[in-house]
Amino acid sequence: MNLDTTTALGRNVEDRVQLSRLTVGWEDTSRAATLRQHVGIYGPIPDASRLGRDGLLGEVAAAQLTGRGGAGFPTAVKMRGVASKRGPAVVVANGMESEPASEKDQALLARAPHLVLDGIALAAEAVGARDAHLCLAHTRDWLIDIVLAAVEERRRADVDPVPVSVHDLPHNYVSSEETSLVHWLNGGEAKPTNTPPRPFERGVAKRPTLVDNVETLAHVALIARYGAGWFREAGRGNAAGTMLTTVSGAVEQPGVYEIEAGSNVGDVLWMAGADPAAEAVLLGGYFGTWHQIGEVAGLPFTAAGLRPVHGAPGAAVIYVLPPGACGLVDAARILQYLASQSAQQCGPCMFGLPAIADDLGQLASARPEGDPFGRLHRRFGQIAGRGACRHPDGAVRMASSALRAFGADAHAHARRRVCLASARSQHNAPVMPVPRPVVEGGWR
């Protein structure tokens, strides 16, 4: 039984926001699909050697699939980059999901691990890899067990020419960055390293390494079966295919949704049952940007669509700020967490992030010392772009977007020492669940 590509299992059939491609059968059971069930839903695993290297790369390129890990880099370009280098390559599947506000990768691996493992096998064939690694966060024992079981199933059925090694890594925020994975696999700490060279040039064991998000690889698995044309049947405007997105906060049904790429932010909010009184959202997770809902509701939830408002979907994460909650408080707590998660390798990040976290904290608690705005704006310019990785940049972007989105409130905090948001609400609004600002468990 092949996937019925014309059925749109959406809540709202006319709008067709929600689609089932990766998520077929998820509402029936919370258990991982077995290999048999997987083949039953999607058909047999495509024979990668029959497709040929150019076959798969050509399809992925025609589909214009972009990375689902947050950077949105064109997948075919990355794969071609690795394939063009001499010598055997390595495939690394990134299932770490260090972003606390995101759950899509965990959900995908827990329900449809074979889609991801198909994608790994196909990518390995396409780039000429002889080794593959799947990296997971070591705090998620439950997920590691599920994935190991799926790998074992395939080993017994002898379906994968390239062996997949499953690894559990430290759970820190920067540990899911691609150079962190490569560094750890090479025996080092799960901390970002200097680039150049980028992993596609020289990565694991000095070989050209393809690092892809697990969702990206799952899409590759479906493109290999049904083709680029099928992939592009979904998608609005210039966006193609579907994407998994995590919605949380003041919504009736928080969780992971598979939506049509290019859907408007407002449609996604409506679909999840967002509180009509909510006024602000955080798009893109902890490295993302805060917006007033009115500013973004009509815009596509894509990188291109959000660019005019300096936003980006990141790893497709949406947090809806509850009405009456103070966005500055949540932004300050996120910044505190990001500061604690610095790999402590570069001065501007190590010292700069705690400094702006302190400044933003002062603003958020309406107890400013001196001129926190002046300090923040000066420091934003000094911190971004001066680290080895994009951690300080992402933190600065989130913080400066909070000042922009909650500008009026920020001034009220600073000048008149009152909070406009809490003044408006009758009761205490819930705060965003942010992990403790400590590094637990080391880097190795």
Binding site: N194, Q345, G347, P348, F351, R386, G387, A388
Partner: protein, 72 residues
């Protein structure tokens, strides 16, 4: 064909000798870490070279720039 001064931010531990030797090219931020002005005019090349050699952790590098540094 001009010279470019580049820093390895992981190797840099903020000694600040570079700012002493080439103040026109290097300014220190409030935490003692260098902000590099990467285009090196030819008349400052010798000072840039001295700064590179003086760095206790060899975090600075001087190179001939061909094109704009690739952003990742």
């Amino acid at each position: 064909m001009s010279l470019k001064l580049e820093i390895n931010p992981i190797a840099c531990t903020g000694h600040g000798l570079c700012a002493d030797l080439a103040p026109e090219l290097v300014e220190l931020d409030e935490w003692g870490y260098p902000i590099i002005h990467d285009r090196v005019p030819n008349d400052l090349a010798v000072h840039a070279r001295r700064a590179v050699n003086a760095c206790p952790t060899l975090a600075l590098r001087l190179s001939r720039s061909q094109r704009h540094k690739e952003q990742n």
